[in-house]
Amino acid sequence: MSDCDALVIGGGVSGLTAAAYLARAGLRVIVAEARNKLGGACESMSFGEGFHAPLTQTLYALDPRVVKDLKLNLKFAVRDMALTGLRADGKHIVLSRDGAARSIAVHSQADAKAWKRFRRELFSLARDMRALWWDEGTFSVSRERLEPFRRLSAAAWLDGWFESDALKATLAFDATENGLSPFEPGSALALLWRASQEMCGLQGAVAALAGGPPSLVQALLEAAKVDIRTGANVSRILLANGAVAGVELASGETIAASIVISSASRRRTLNELLPTGAIGFARADSMDRANPKTGTAKVALALSALPMFAGVPSTARFILAERLESYAAAYSAARAGRLPDELIMEAVTPTAADSSLAPIGQHLLIASVRPVPLAMNDEMKAQLTAKVIAAFARHVPGMHVVASEVLTPAEISSRYGAQDLKMNVAQMLANWDERLRTPISSLMLCGESAISGRAGRIAAAMAIRDKT
């Protein structure tokens, strides 16, 4: 029996951030990571000969306070990846910070004119929402501005602004996290959420770290001088008198702790790790029903040359989605267990700016394809790879694929315990208390909006405040 003040379940970015803050407050902290490696979904998978594909290629929501407080030493390979849409007709759309209007004008003059106003409104609304999303505090967005977004879908909102399919379909991709369809209320809010984030001091920017996401884990490890146990799979959370008392590992070992912060998902933490019925059966049941029915698959392609798309910078992120309606078709197909006819995906070529991820002269293309069915058999995986290759080969004559690797949503969540609650408006507008606290005192969650580190910081702050 080993003792500590606080135990953190999961050694991903959120867990390590929480641990670092707890340690800063003078607590003795243990991080229990089930796998033998730290970093969770920031890990790189190796495939082919000498290729390392990071599972999360981009960072768009790293909490600036975490970087400052923990003095993280981060080097960015790209600070502001432009959002671009690869079009079947070759008229690619590049939404860079300064030159977007010119690129939009190819598709629609009216949209090019509306773009500036749209960005201004998006960014200003998003800044207003920071009070809710960035820190604990009173929330003061005027009801008049926020109210429509409770009910608005991204598709309806974008339809109100723009006419060109290219622009709308490209923008809508960021509204589709965690099984949300751009035709659902709340998806417009998801766009605001993305726009409210900040990377490298730029609002709504998407950045890539030199060395890939593992370098963020490395930086966090240096900042968090805590006791880290890998291969420590937490199987139960122990309770005493309704409060948390510690955890039991799969090995049978128990660790006593008066604070437990879990970076596993809310459902896994509350429904699987806690004793049955600890949070009430009704709540457990409602969480079981709210799971997303589609997911994101990752396809990594090892290429012998850097793929170039006409007029598009290589350090951009490429969205493939022809029309808004393509999303509707893709969701219904994925839900019925089939691969959509037209795959919707975001792709990046991380080796364009950071050559350390592949052997010299060779390159990586990593696509996040969503929505796809949660589980796929080998045949479907092969089909998925073929379709992804075809989608890019159309623009890159003579593209040569050296090796490829696919991870299905089911594989990703079995390895890394991914998000398993479908996003909705209520969750997006919940305050941090609702998001991180559980019905059990001193048991906090920090797995939501995992990549930000923000949840880890705030969960740690809450737990410390509760104890003193």
Binding site: S153, F183, E184, P185, K293, Y331, S332, A333
Partner: protein, 465 residues
């Protein structure tokens, strides 16, 4: 110039009920209808010698009981015969047992929403700017049909019954709002025209006047206050108040010069999404198949609805559109000769605008084939007995009823277009009231929106005095 207190545009169930209410309260009221007969979608005609059907719908949403009594509709001949619901899979069928819990929940929510819709808070959220007071059933705006009804056969059947002739992705948040727009009340004996004639009689007896056969071509206004209605032949009718029972796009975008409206209204009306997706195929059958008196939903499955809806969005005719069969002559023998039968097939998720061009004969034939396939799957061998088949595609509904994009619900049923975000009965134009399907009570029940608008007119007139 003809002078009236109130002009009602459209003589559908809403317009007729509004006119009866207003005239009954002593106001000089005129109903303007472009067709030569009153009734709107509540009409019945002979589509093949001896075979009759109501072309646009078999069932109507329930007339709220209180309106039914106030207008004395039963005595005037509107008698409803319930149509039970049956779901058919290739290997079996399933009869919808009213699940008390869901039924009571839906009825309770509907009653509360109806109450709010009848006297809405003074400012509504239509323009997306005004402060919005939450309505009952607000949680359904964030819930999907599968969230509320669950999954499995029973749920699939209920979803099919809810969406019959409409389209939605039952997995998407907001689709639960379709539950509010359901509440079918059964067929009217003698066809829906009997409901129209009962309402017309109620309006006439109360003293309302009718102008049939001439379309209202514009609404005149001055300084954001309406003053009168212009008819297609140039006649002008002055009215202190106007109730429009046509949908909101048509009301604002084609009856007004845009410069007469506040710009936000034009913008919002332009962005208003229609969700029409109904096609109907009327079949005259020589030999009556042995079938129960039910609405039969063919192969219901939430996934089928989701895929059909995606096809609808993309502007393609779904390969397997949800179909509802009604052997209406079994419920009402007056609709077909003895020994024969009238079968209607209602197809959902049929797009108004096809991605590859206009609604040609070939595409109508596709609908006919889909309908026959659905009928064949329930009544094997029925195709051989078909004497005549009439196809009614979404553009036909638009043309016949003036419902934009053939949408009888007055706008897509979505979270940002339901409950308090539907306009009406009062609008940004003083003296203009919306009493049609686009207004808050529109999708909830027949006549409800018209009567709500009429009551708003009466209340405002009283206040002015």
């Amino acid at each position: 110039m003809l002078r009236y207190d109130v002009g009602v545009i459209g003589a559908g169930a809403d317009g007729l009920a509004a006119a009866a209410t207003l005239a009954g309260a002593g106001l000089k009221t005129i109903v303007i209808e472009r067709s030569t007969v009153a009734g709107g979608r509540a009409q019945t005609r002979e589509f093949h010698p001896g075979f009759r059907a109501s072309p646009f719908a078999d069932e109507v949403a329930a007339v709220p009981r209180e309106i039914h009594w106030a207008l004395d509709l039963t005595r005037r001949g509107a008698i409803f015969a319930p149509m039970p619901s049956l779901a058919m899979w290739p290997d079996r069928h399933h009869i919808l047992q009213p699940s008390r819990e869901t039924e009571a929940r839906c009825a309770g929510v509907l009653a509360r929403v109806n109450a709010v819709a009848a006297s809405p808070p003074p400012r509504f959220g239509f323009l997306r700017t005004a402060s919005y007071t939450p309505w009952p059933a607000e949680d359904w705006a964030q819930a999907s049909l599968t969230d509320v009804l669950g999954e499995g056969d029973e749920a699939a059947h209920r979803i099919a019954a809810t969406l019959a002739g409409r389209t939605a992705d039952p997995y998407l948040a907001g689709s639960a709002l379709h539950l509010l727009a359901e509440s079918n009340s059964g067929v009217v004996l003698g066809g829906l025209a009997r409901l129209a004639s009962a309402l017309t009689n109620a309006a006439r007896e109360a003293g309302a006047e009718f102008s049939l056969g001439l379309e209202a071509s514009d609404i005149q206004s001055h300084m954001h206050r309406v003053t009168g209605i212009g008819l297609a032949d140039g006649t002008e009718i002055s009215a202190r108040a106007i109730i429009s029972t046509v949908d909101l796009k048509r009301t604002f975008l084609s009856l007004f010069p845009w410069s007469a409206l506040p710009p936000p209204v034009v913008k919002r009306a332009g962005l208003w999404r229609m969700g029409g997706g109904t096609a109907r195929v009327l079949l005259a059958l020589e030999k009556a198949p042995d079938a129960p008196r039910s609405a039969i939903h063919v192969a219901p499955d939430a996934k089928v609805f989701a895929e059909a809806h995606a096809a609808w969005r993309a502007g393609t005719i779904p390969t397997a559109p949800p179909a509802t069969l009604r052997l209406i002559s079994a419920a009402d023998p007056s609709l077909a000769p003895i020994g024969s039968a009238t079968l209607t097939v209602t197809l959902g998720a049929i797009p108004f605008r096809l991605f590859d061009g206009a609604w040609t004969h070939e595409k109508r034939d596709v609908l006919r084939a889909l309908a026959l396939a659905a009928a064949e799957s329930v009544f094997p061998g029925v195709s051989a007995s078909v004497l005549a088949a009439e196809v009614i595609a979404p553009p036909d509904i638009e043309e016949a009823l003036g419902a934009t994009e053939g949408d009888l619900m007055g706008g897509e049923i979505a979270s940002d277009q339901m409950l308090g975000l539907r306009p009406g009965p009062r609008t940004e134009m003083a003296g203009l009231y919306l009493g049609g399907p686009s207004s808050a009570a529109g999708p909830l029940g027949a006549c409800a929106a018209g009567v709500a608008a009429a009551r708003a007119v009466l209340a405002d007139f009283r206040r002015l005095k």
